[in-house]
C-alpha cells in the first residue's frame, strides 16, 4: 500500500483535511508563507536515530516554532547515549518518505512516536501527508491516538522570544 493510501485509511472516519502542496514548497516555512497557514500551528515529524548504541529510532512531532530537545529529552526517552537527526537516506529507509513529507500517520508500527505536549493545546495542526505534495490538517487528538504515540512534556523548547504556554 502506498503511503498516501495508508494515510487515507488511517484517517478514514476521523476529522481531517487533505491539503495539496507544491513539492517545492513542502518545507514548513515555505508552505506556511505560501498557503497562509501559521507556523505556530504547523508541526514537523522528525526522525531521530541513535549513534551509541546505533540502531534505535523514534519519530518526534513538534511545532515548527519550537526546538526539539534532541540532546536531552529525546535521548533520554530513547534510552541511548547519543542521538541525532536521522539523515535523509535513513529517514527514507525507515519510513519510505522524503524529508519534508514525513507523516506520523504512516510510520512503521514499531517506531515510537513522541508528541510535544504543546500540540495538544491547539484546535488543529498541520502535519506532513506522506509526500512532499500533501499536508494534513488534523485535530491533535488524532496524533495522540496513533499506536505507539506518547505525549511528552518538554519534548521541545520554546524559542527565546516565545512565551512559554502554561
Amino acid at each position: 500500500m502506498d503511503i498516501e493510501a495508508q494515510v487515507r485509511r488511517t484517517l478514514a472516519g476521523s476529522d481531517h483535511e487533505l491539503i495539496d502542496c507544491d513539492p517545492e514548497l513542502a518545507d514548513t516555512a515555505a508552505f506556511c508563507a505560501h498557503y497562509g497557514y501559521p507556523e505556530e500551528q504547523s508541526a514537523n515529524t522528525i526522525l531521530v536515530a541513535s549513534r551509541r548504541p546505533p540502531g534505535e529510532s523514534a519519530a518526534c512531532v513538534v511545532l515548527a516554532t519550537t526546538r526539539l530537545d534532541v540532546n536531552n529529552r529525546v535521548r533520554k526517552l530513547m534510552g541511548v547515549r547519543k542521538a541525532s537527526f536521522a539523515p535523509a537516506e535513513v529517514t527514507s529507509e525507515l519510513t519510505g518518505m522524503l524529508i519534508g513529507g514525513v507523516t506520523p500517520f504512516a510510520l512503521p508500527a514499531d517506531l515510537p512516536i513522541y508528541i510535544d505536549a504543546r500540540i495538544m493545546d491547539l484546535d488543529w495542526v498541520i502535519v506532513g501527508g506522506g509526500s512532499r505534495s500533501l499536508k494534513l490538517k488534523v485535530p491533535p487528538a488524532a496524533l495522540a491516538a496513533l499506536p505507539g504515540a506518547e505525549v511528552v512534556e518538554g519534548l521541545a523548547i520554546a524559542q527565546p522570544n516565545e512565551p512559554e504556554v502554561n
Binding site: 513538534v62 540532546n71 527565546p160
Partner: protein
C-alpha cells in the same frame, strides 16, 4: 609524505550578524578576530608512511615513526588502539601503543562523552601520531593533522580532515571543533538538521565540492549548548569524488546566531 602539524592555510571571513533579536548571543558584527596558529614541526620520521601499532611495537628504541590508529584517552592513559571495543565510552583493544607527551588539546575531532564518563575521550577516526619509540611507548608524541583554527572573542573554530591526504574517491570525514572561550554557556541555534558545511575550491577559486550539495536536512529547530571552556566536535562524513590536486577547504557553521567566522585549510587530494 610531508610531515605537517598545524596551519596549512588560514583565511578568515567575518560577516555581519544574521539575527536581529536583542538577546542574540552569537552574531558577530565587528571584524576583530584573531587567528590562532598552531605550532609546526620539521622533524622527519624514519619512514614516510604511517605504520601499524603492531609494527611500531616492534620498532627499535630510538626509531622516529608515524603510527596510525584510533586514539582513546582515559585520564593520563593515552593510547593508539589496535581495536576499539564498542562499549560506551569505547575501550582500547590490543595491541595498543601508549603515547607519552601527547596534548589532547592539539587533536581536532575528539569525541567527548556525557559528564559521568568524564576523563575518557577518543577519536572515531584513525589518528596519525609521530614520536620516538622507547620501551614500547611512543614518546614525545604529537598528532599529525593538517589543521586550521580561527577565533573571535567568544569562540574558536578548528578544521581538520581524515584521512590526510584525502583520497580522490572514497570516504572522508571533515572534523570541525567549536570551543567556547567565554565563561558563560554558548547556545548555538540551528534552523534545520545541518550543523556546518565544507566547501572545496580549486586554485582558480572555482567550487568543486560542497558537503551539503547532495543532502537534504530535517526541517527542525534545535539548539546546541557548549559549556564554558568546552568543545563541541562536529563530524561531517561523505564520499568524495574530486580530481587529484591542491584545494582550499572552507568550513562554516550553520548556526543562525553565529559564530559567523569561516576558516580555510589547504588540503591535498590524491
Amino acid at each position: 609524505m610531508r610531515l605537517r602539524v598545524g596551519v596549512a592555510m588560514v583565511a578568515l571571513a567575518v560577516a555581519a550578524g544574521a539575527c536581529g533579536s536583542d538577546d542574540d548571543a552569537g552574531a558577530t558584527t565587528t571584524a576583530a578576530p584573531t587567528t590562532a596558529a598552531p605550532t609546526s614541526t620539521t622533524a622527519a620520521p624514519d619512514t614516510d608512511q604511517p605504520m601499524s601499532i603492531s609494527a611500531a611495537l616492534e620498532a627499535p628504541d630510538g626509531a622516529q615513526v608515524q603510527v596510525v590508529g584510533p586514539l582513546i584517552a582515559a585520564g593520563d592513559d593515552v593510547r593508539l588502539c589496535g581495536a576499539v571495543m564498542e562499549s560506551y565510552p569505547p575501550q582500547c583493544g590490543e595491541p595498543s601503543l601508549p603515547l607519552d607527551g601527547l596534548s589532547l588539546d592539539a587533536v581536532i575531532g575528539l569525541s567527548r562523552p556525557d559528564p559521568e564518563f568524564s576523563g575518557v575521550v577518543w577519536t572515531d577516526f584513525p589518528l596519525v601520531a609521530f614520536g620516538t619509540v622507547q620501551d614500547g611507548i611512543l614518546t614525545e608524541a604529537i598528532p599529525i593533522q593538517a589543521s586550521a583554527s580561527v577565533s573571535d572573542t567568544r569562540t574558536e573554530l578548528s578544521l581538520a580532515v581524515s584521512p590526510d591526504p584525502i583520497p580522490g574517491r572514497g570516504g572522508v570525514v571533515w572534523l570541525i571543533d567549536v570551543t567556547n572561550l567565554t565563561d558563560a554557556a554558548l547556545v548555538l541555534q540551528f534552523r534545520d538538521g545541518q550543523s556546518a558545511d565544507v566547501v572545496l575550491t580549486d586554485e582558480s577559486g572555482t567550487e568543486v565540492y560542497r558537503w551539503s550539495a547532495d543532502k537534504s536536512f530535517t526541517d527542525a529547530l534545535w539548539d546546541q549548548t557548549i559549556d564554558p571552556g568546552t568543545t563541541w566536535s562536529i563530524q561531517l562524513h561523505d564520499e568524495l569524488n574530486v580530481a587529484p590536486g591542491r584545494y582550499l577547504a572552507s568550513a562554516t557553521l550553520a548556526a543562525e546566531n553565529g559564530p559567523e567566522v569561516a576558516l580555510s585549510l589547504g588540503v591535498d587530494v590524491q
